[in-house]
Symmetry: C2
Subunit: 306 residues, 2 copies
């Protein structure tokens, strides 16, 4: 596979994902130059210090350079404003993609503008992340062997091909999907698990204080897995639930029904129902491990640097 | 710290925890001889092949040796039968402990018998585990820097001291707690997270088949964290919900209330409530990392041997 080769790319939003992209693009030599845009100057400074961008600006208009590819990596609530800025800014054909977790809203936001035909926007969602936020936590390997879902809408084949090559160059496998379908799948694989994690950690944080201290102390018993997710960026997730409301409420309904059934089984001492349910879920874990999407959990603290 | 030194110990139940104990006891030279009891001959064979036990029997009575310490590592539903066997078997003072996840039920089961005053039973719960089951997945370091909760009931100080030394020798910090309190804390840190993980994976496994395949494929988005827990031993967990019913139902009630509140906030587009909740949960994660109970999650598959 030959890598794609850009003269320059612009990353808008230098958080965990944006900075990881900068690292991966540099490592894989996908672009000679990488520019970064972030309203937070601290993030720009960090990325300059890390030498993963060659120039950083607070606003796109300050950049004063046209570019081959722009990747939007900021919270979903900023998209409208960013599309507006792109409208003003671009005066040559430019590939644009994003990493947002909801795609119907992304396409809606884009379609409200699109008077500037230089914008070649192919909506994407690389399925990769970590609960940490901020450029200091990014790393180039984040995208390797992970899927990137593309939800093209009225795109020319050339733009699509270029975007596929781009993600491939970072080690991702690109899958095309209808935006509505994407939002339902992700509601189940991502938005609901995340909401539940937030919810149970919130429940714990409202416990009587002595009980709460012990819940934290003995969290290695299972609770800690939820706290990892619940450590994620609050702004990013607030936006996800605003933008994917319908699919989230539908899947949440299914989940609470199933949880009520388990609750009733516990109340009624229905041990055989519990055992049957608990056995059926093992299969799914096995498949996820087999297809190499499980990640690696080390129950010790041995790799910690401190 | 000087290690405790037994002539022989017997481990009843050679699963993940039992076999990890055997490895740790051997590595830390806590006992000259380690015997294993398991109704599953396959487990005995595996442990003999791994050279972590020196003799294995299906039943305690076949062992024909008295011992210094017996550790019960089998599912909670087997405890009554095991206590009955111990009653028959022991003819000299013997320390007995266990690793069970519920302590009220353990003490109830024990108190139904206790005619044989040679049994010096100190109920314990080492807070350490992994979603895998079977002796092949065990490892000695599982207990290092983790807490062990002890819930003594009418024990002599000498037995308590010995048991504390035993867990200390494996690298654990022992904390004493009332059994009822233990069961409430663990309902929150362990039994509820586990039930929720089972529940959401069950919800996913009942989706229309094309949706289900995609949920598995794109599980790296968050869902995979739940599948890890949901890969745990079904028998062990079936027993936990039977034995800790009241505390589980209480904590489950609190959780579903909080989840309903979040659901309503999504329905009503209450972005500021969501952001506030999602920010509050970050603190708990931070504390868990600071006290060294977080484990280490690697989002890549890099350490996989296959």
């Amino acid at each position: 596979m030959t890598n794609i080769n850009f003269k320059s790319v612009v990353i808008i939003g230098l958080g965990l994902i944006g900075s990881s992209l900068a690292r991966a693009i540099r490592e894989k030599e996908v672009s000679k130059t990488i520019y970064g845009i972030d309203i937070n100057e601290e993030n720009i400074k960090k990325c300059l210090n890390l030498k993963i961008i060659s120039k950083g600006e607070k606003n796109l208009e300050d950049l004063k350079e046209q570019t081959d590819l722009i990747i939007i990596c900021s919270p979903l609530s900023t998209y409208k404003e960013i599309f507006f800025q792109l409208e003003q800014y671009l005066n040559q054909d430019t590939l644009v993609t994003d990493v947002g977790s909801t795609k119907m809203s992304t396409i809606r936001d884009f379609e409200e503008l699109k008077n500037n035909h230089h914008i070649k926007f192919v909506p994407c969602h690389p399925i990769a992340g970590l609960e940490k936020s901020g450029p200091e936590y990014g790393f180039a390997k984040l995208f390797e062997n992970r899927f990137c879902i593309m939800t093209p809408k009225n795109n020319d084949q050339n733009s699509i091909d270029q975007i596929i090559k781009f993600w491939n160059s970072l080690g991702m496998e690109v899958q095309s999907m209808d935006a509505e379908h994407h939002d339902r799948v992700l509601a189940m694989t991502s938005h609901i698990p995340q909401l539940i994690a937030y919810s149970i950690v919130a429940t714990a944080s409202e416990l009587e204080s002595h009980l709460k201290e012990e819940v934290i102390k003995y969290s290695a018993a299972g609770f800690r897995d939820f706290t990892r997710l619940a450590g994620s960026d609050p702004i990013m997730w607030r936006d996800v639930y605003a933008k994917n409301k319908e699919a989230v409420l539908e899947m949440l309904g299914r989940f609470t029904e199933d949880l009520s059934t388990l609750q009733k089984a516990i109340r009624n001492n229905d041990a055989s129902y519990l055992e049957k349910t608990f056995s059926s879920t093992r299969e799914i874990r096995k498949v996820i491990e087999e297809i190499g999407q499980a990640g690696t959990f080390d129950p010790t603290e041995s790799k910690k640097t401190k």
